[in-house]
Amino acid sequence: MSTNTAQTLYTQPQTSELEQFLYHEADLLDNNDLKSWMELFTEDGTYWMPVARDQDDPHGHISILFENRAVMAVRANNFGHRLSASMEYDIRTSHLIGNVRVTEFDENSGDCTVKSNFQAVLYYREQTLFAGTCTHQLKRQGEGYRILQKRVDILNCDAPHRSIMTYI
């Protein structure tokens, strides 16, 4: 990019624009539409839910979830499958997102990192509340964005959980 001195620079997006993106993403999850949801990710995009506070390595350290597009596709094909014992029960989520703020912005690429706080209720056999911080690394693509990584730090990341049946 640095070679193209004549290039127009991006201006930092309004928080409201990013909020709309995050709401849309959460809405796809709340509708169990995993196929459309995974399309929001870049081809090398990942979803990451660490097991430790301040975890910096998803490869050499265990995580609750760290999934690429290939595993997301398996999950979408597995979701609600009649041959899965655990999938006989309904899986429902409801996300509430707030405190949206841009923590990094690159005016050359238009890419940005957005943090938000969330509370998400997962209903699967019983109701469970998850809360914490999301970090979205967003790649500018034309008029919109795609997700390079969604990192979900839940408050009780290191606590024993029961089954977590879908993405938070």
Partner: protein, 455 residues
């Protein structure tokens, strides 16, 4: 002076008088091909198990790489007993009860850390790293009270026996019973195999554990470890979903590395029958041997070379030629030598069990080996995986519906009478219920044979 072992034996003796479970009644819960549902449902039986199985067996505590430096500690439980595993200033690994010798408060609250000395946060009694009482504040109050600081009842007492085998620390709350190697039998080879898969012959724990709460009796988790009748049914979807995903890949896309880990969970009855199940004394068992669901993983560059350089061709072939799946060391521990993962059973109550998954680095091996270990665990063992929750759900279903008064027994007869014994090991086809029958043989032994009867 009352030691921890004496106190425990007194409790067992009292229970035998007060609880409504004579040895005859306990024996009657286990028949050769079925068990009574009460073994999973009755809280009194759970309490007896904690005393008689978890109080008499060698139970996995931790790995010594979790306490590398003097003062490093972890806290955990052995049955219902809170314990601390700590490396002292001489470099020894101790396992002491996490109970203050004063008023009985839990001394160490954190899951892990480093301490010069333990100090009870309630009244400030301090303890050395081997649990002995160091000092009590404001000593004058104990003058003329016959207070003896050397009396073990005032310390954080040591558990009866501790064994550190290639870094794997097991403890036994009882002075009596088999020594560690006798207890382990051929299961010890699995620990050796995992350690020998390191070019340096050493493994170390990497990172935090993955904890998973199960709404079931601890034995359901344990019985599932070598249950090969369930994968093709219970995990039926994930194999199908994986195949579908591979079919849907755009032409020319390489098959994702995750596929070789997930796919075997959809294998046929025949494949699991061929893997076979092997059982031994004390309730231990494993599946596979020569081949298992881990046999056909792709090779990681540099690993073979590093192994052959340290161990030589012959030993390398022998070590890597052994592929056991889930060596279950009754009652607390299961190990996947070929994937460098252990899962530890921590019973909480009759219908609640904590499973902790720990991951190991093969010292001297390429880092991609660890990455595969981590990927495997996320895909198979995580509470958010597409495999573990299917098992979880089936245990919860059993825990729920065994309450039904329509029947009292749980069946375990598959392939009974068709096992073969040689060299102290008994083998059967993989989908046999042999490992479960073998666990209940051990269960009956522990439950009806207490330390003082042996003594």
């Amino acid at each position: 002076m009352t030691t921890a072992t004496e106190a425990r034996n007194n409790i067992i003796a009292r229970q035998q008088q007060t609880l409504g479970h004579s040895n005859e009644e306990l024996t009657s819960l286990v028949e050769k091909d079925r068990v009574h549902r009460d073994v999973y449902l009755d809280p009194e039986i759970f309490d007896l198990e904690m005393e008689r199985i978890w109080g008499q067996a060698w139970v996995f505590v931790g790995h010594d790489s979790q306490v590398k430096k003097p003062g490093d500690f972890i806290t955990t439980t052995i049955g219902k007993e809170p314990v601390v595993m700590v490396r002292d200033k001489k470099g020894e690994v101790n396992v002491v009860y996490n109970r203050c010798g004063h008023k009985g408060a839990k001394v160490v609250g954190k899951p892990c850390g480093n301490a010069q000395m333990f100090r009870c946060p309630y009244h400030g009694w301090t303890f050395q790293l081997d649990g002995t009482l160091n000092a009590t504040p404001h000593k004058c109050g104990y003058e003329d009270t016959a207070f003896d600081p050397a009396d073990p009842q005032f310390s954080m007492q040591k558990v009866a026996r501790v064994e550190n085998y290639r870094g794997f620390v097991f403890a036994n709350l009882s002075e009596q019973g088999d020594d560690f190697e006798t207890f382990m039998g051929a299961a010890l080879e699995t620990i050796d195999n995992m350690a020998d898969r390191s070019p340096q012959g050493e493994v170390e724990v990497v990172g935090a554990c993955l904890p998973y709460f199960h709404d079931c009796n601890w034995k359901m988790f344990f019985e599932n470890l070598n249950d090969a009748q369930h994968p093709m049914v219970c995990h039926g979807s994930v194999g199908v979903a994986t195949k579908k995903t591979v079919r849907e890949l755009p032409e020319g896309t390489p098959v994702p590395k995750e596929v070789e880990i997930i796919s075997p969970f959809g294998s046929s009855y025949e494949l699991f029958d061929d893997m076979g199940v092997t059982v031994m004394e004390n309730g231990h068992s494993f599946m596979g041997g020569k081949h298992s669901i881990h046999s056909s993983y792709s090779e990681i560059p540099g690993y073979m070379e590093a192994m052959i350089e340290s161990h030589g061709q012959e030993k390398t072939e022998r070590v890597l030629g052994s592929n056991r799946h889930n060596t279950a060391i009754y009652p607390s521990f299961t190990i996947k030598d070929a994937v460098q993962i252990i899962r530890v059973v921590r019973p909480v109550s009759v219908d609640k069990t904590l499973i902790q998954t720990w991951h190991f680095r093969l010292k001297g091996a390429p880092e991609q080996m660890l990455h595969r270990t981590i990927t495997y665990s996320r895909l198979i063992n995580s509470p958010a995986s597409m495999v573990g929750p299917d098992d979880w759900d089936c245990y919860a279903r059993m825990q729920e519906s065994l309450r039904s008064n329509s029947a009292e027994w749980v069946d375990m007869r598959r392939y009974i009478g068709r096992e073969e014994s040689a060299d102290g090991l008994t083998r059967a086809k993989g989908t046999s219920d042999l490992s479960m029958r073998n666990q209940y043989k051990a269960w009956t032994n522990y439950m009806t044979q207490t330390s003082e009867q042996e003594a």
